[in-house]
Amino acid sequence: MLIGAIVAGVVFGLYFTLVGLGLNLVFGVMRIVNLAHGDFLMLGGYAAWWLLSAFGIHPLPAAAIVLVVFMLAGLPLYYLVVPRLQRARDSEMLSLILFFGLSQMIEAVTTIVVGTTERSLPGRLLGIGPMIVLGARLPKPWVFSAAVSAVAVLGVYLYLYRTRLGTLTRAVMVSRDEALATGIDIHRVSAIAFGISLGLAGIAGVFAPFMLGSITPNIGVGLNITAFAVIVVGTLGNPLGTVVGGIVYGVSLMLMQTYFSSWANLLPNLLLIAVLLARPQGLYGRRVRLA
Amino acid sequence: MSPEPPLLVVEDLVKRFGGFRALDGVSFHLAPGEVLGLVGPNGSGKTTCINVISGLYPPDGGRVSYLGHSIGGVASHVLARRGINRTFQSPKPFLSLTVRENVLVAATYGNAGVAPDLDALLASVELDTLADRPAGELNSAQQKTLDLARALATSPRVLLVDELAAGLNPAELGRMADRLRALAAGGMALLVVEHLMGFIDRVTDRVVVMNAGHEFFEGTLAAAIKDPEVIRVFLGGAHG
């Protein structure tokens, strides 16, 4: 049972890395907290459901479609709200409130359009039955989702460290002011990062029905807390630290569910508070952010 | 020089940020009625020194004593009541409060004894006409003056002044220098960090020159500018 829980935790953690990755990218580049991240994820899930039920599109190509569409949608959204936000005195706090409002709007519109029935995708699309990994029996869709998550993380790594835009993005993450001074088009870099973030949320959403069991329009808020816990445990502003956060979260969640199942939901909350207070720079970083 | 025993004594003060030693064994002393200039290139630790003395950061080594008691690590608001106060390099007024309210807070909370007359205080720094305006509407020079007024409202015996002169026009500079001298004449001890050497020359009795976190010269400014080491540091340093 112990090995099973740990292996399942790593697999689950990889998926939650994907859930938190986009949120962290936006925080790193723009210093804003996108509280609507979970709602974009939810939209990704509904997009996959719609693509399957209306056109019979398999979740895998659906993920590619969602990635592109969400990335493109992110660009205008960025220019609409973010530059204006960043001129404000306390942009971190204001962004939190603004994106919370956006989250409410998205949830409302989704409810109006698709209703509140739980939607899920047939698990057989990603393979039926268990897969044996290191002696642990895991649902095939989990392994599949974790693999896609790993690919996405790798993609973000390659973007940040192997492309020119990625280098500029990292420069903005280190110091926005200095990047501005050296003539980097901050808004272009940020808008693209914002688009990528939404795209990542979208892919995570496509696999949400498999990992979470089902989706409803109101899963956004809970996912936001979890995603925030993951990136705080990893390192705020360091997208690759998210991997650490995701796996720590996944493994501890699975251990809790195995041995203290009724207390499992307490976990992300306690983890978040504990890490914020004890090691505010995250388990994998060195940024300080105390008052 | 002042015949009285020193109010403030700084010995071998150390402050580290991660691996960087911002203060690396600074020592100096300050007597009542004395104005001490703290000069040195950017990054030499002047502001950090003020931050540690005023209680913003606890020291990592060495000793700060005030009236014979160690005050290293004592919180800012306690020091303010005991008579140590400061201004900030970039002014930090309470933007949404009025000028008078800014000073009122300090007079109420930063005084161990009787608070000074606020109207007179504001008049003395030429902020009386702006008393009911929100601090956010003041220009940068006025905000710096407000910083000073707020510090004075706590009736300090030691005043740490961090680059008050920058941005003032020549007439304002002159008045500010006179003001600081008048404070010293009243028995207050002042530590002045400043880049403008003319201003330093006008207000200070002696200077301490810092580089890389510790002091290496102490004496009058006139002597300092003849010191080969000082010349080397300033010409070779980042300040230029």
Binding site: G4, T111, T116, T117, E118, P130, G213, T216, N218 | -
Partner: protein, 419 residues
């Protein structure tokens, strides 16, 4: 005739005369209810609300319902608010229905949670609460006459059918160890507890796993691993449709096999669960079967075929309104209320209560036998045990298997593990 009888007759006559004068027949009978368009209870609330709407629509198409005190047919007016599965909102809205809309008939939202807040409010305002499906035992007490449970047996009684089945047929088939996994809400929590109580009382099967999880649980994979570690023969999962869907999917994905798997809504909201979990995850599982899913002889209201036709006409397949037990219960509660209005001695809330109680033991509707105990709890409408069989590759059909009197087929248990 003695004096008391004479007095009673006088009072009755007076109340009829003056009552009629004081209150001429209203233009409409106001029926107030709540529904949850969102949240955890939407899955059971919306179909029930659709059922009530269907009843009101049909009644009004026939010129209204006959109301005895006025000797005429009066149209119904349905006033419904959305409580979004939130009990605080629901409390305010129940108050609104009673104090501002002055509804004659107050029907609670589906489920025990959204009913619970209505109980003290209805009692405070002396308004009879037609409790749709809030089966929580604490609602019913001798000192509160203002509640009557319309459908579903009270949750302390309901699980007896399953316990009997396991003790009888299950025991003979070799079921020895039972696991119970339930969602911790009034409905399934109480259900799980009394089921465990019945099993312990019988003293045959042992309960090797008994665990509650939050109702919003969507991920059952680890829980199923934990259950498998306890090596039970029978696994009983009690939750709302969302829980059942997630459980059945996770069970299929895990590859674990148990001899007996039970879900409550697999039968009660068969179509909704089918849409979420798929037929292959459901085939062979056990469930309760509502009367509408097996040939049940009714003496009041439509037959299965008639009801199905009416439902499909009002909510054509594909309209997103799933047909299941909750819709039926909403509709049938309406029919019982209609009959009560047709027989009530007066229009006071306690008169209505008397009228409903007078129907106890007399009605056999598609929801089952309508029987009330003295405090207003439903003790009829028992549901038989059923098993889901494949009906083509993408559908399942329920087969009643217990009690023998209602059985249409033999239960099929899974193979013994390790054999």
């Amino acid at each position: 005739m003695n004096i008391r009888g004479a007095l009673a007759g006088l009072v009755l006559a007076a109340s009829t005369v003056f009552g009629a004068r004081a209150a001429p027949a209203p233009a409409e009978i106001k029926v107030g209810t709540l529904y949850a368009s969102t949240g955890p209870f939407a899955a059971i609330s919306m179909p029930a609300y659709d059922g009530i709407k269907l009843w009101v629509k049909q009644a009004n198409a026939a010129g209204g319902v006959y109301v005895k005190p006025y000797h005429k047919k009066i149209p119904l007016k349905l006033i419904a608010y959305d409580d979004q599965s939130n009990t605080a909102t629901a409390a305010t809205l129940y108050n609104q229905l009673i104090t501002q809309d002055h509804v004659e008939i107050l029907i609670s939202d589906s489920g025990s949670v959204l009913t619970s807040v209505a109980v003290p409010i209805a009692r405070e305002h002396k308004q009879l609460l037609f409790d749709l499906s809030g089966t929580g035992a604490p609602f019913f007490s001798k000192d509160n006459p203002y509640i009557v449970l319309m459908s579903l047996p009270i949750s302390t009684l309901w699980p007896k059918a399953q316990a009997d089945f396991l003790n009888d047929v299950g025991w003979r088939a070799g079921v020895r160890k039972v696991a119970i996994l339930y969602a911790t809400n009034d409905f399934t929590g109480t259900h799980a507890k009394s089921l465990a109580g019945y099993l312990r009382k019988a003293g045959k099967e042992t309960i090797v796993y008994d665990q509650g999880v939050p109702t919003n649980t969507t991920n059952y994979s680890v829980l199923i691993n934990n259950i498998a570690a306890a090596k039970p023969d029978a696994v009983i999962e009690l939750g709302y449709p969302g829980n059942d869907i997630a459980f059945l999917r996770a069970l299929q994905d895990s590859g674990e096999k148990f001899r007996y798997v039970f879900t409550l809504f697999g039968g009660f909201e068969m179509h909704a669960v089918l849409g979420g979990a798929g037929a292959s995850a459901m085939v062979g599982t056990f469930t309760y079967i509502p009367a509408a899913l097996y040939p049940y002889k009714v003496n009041y209201g439509p037959t299965v075929e008639q009801f199905h036709a009416a439902w499909d006409k009002a909510y054509p397949p594909g309209s997103g309104v799933a047909w299941g037990a909750d819709g039926l219960m909403g509709y049938m509660s309406g029919l019982v209320i209609e009959r009560a209005l047709a027989t009530t001695p007066g229009m006071s809330q306690l008169d209505l209560r008397r009228a409903v109680f007078a129907l106890s033991g007399k009605l056999d509707t598609l929801a089952g036998a309508f029987r009330l105990n003295p405090v207003g709890a439903q003790i009829g409408e028992m549901t038989p045990m059923g098993q889901l069989r494949a009906d083509g590759p993408h559908a399942v059909r329920p087969v009643a298997v217990y009690p023998p009197a209602l059985a249409m087929g033999k239960p099929e248990f899974g193979p013994r593990s390790g054999q």
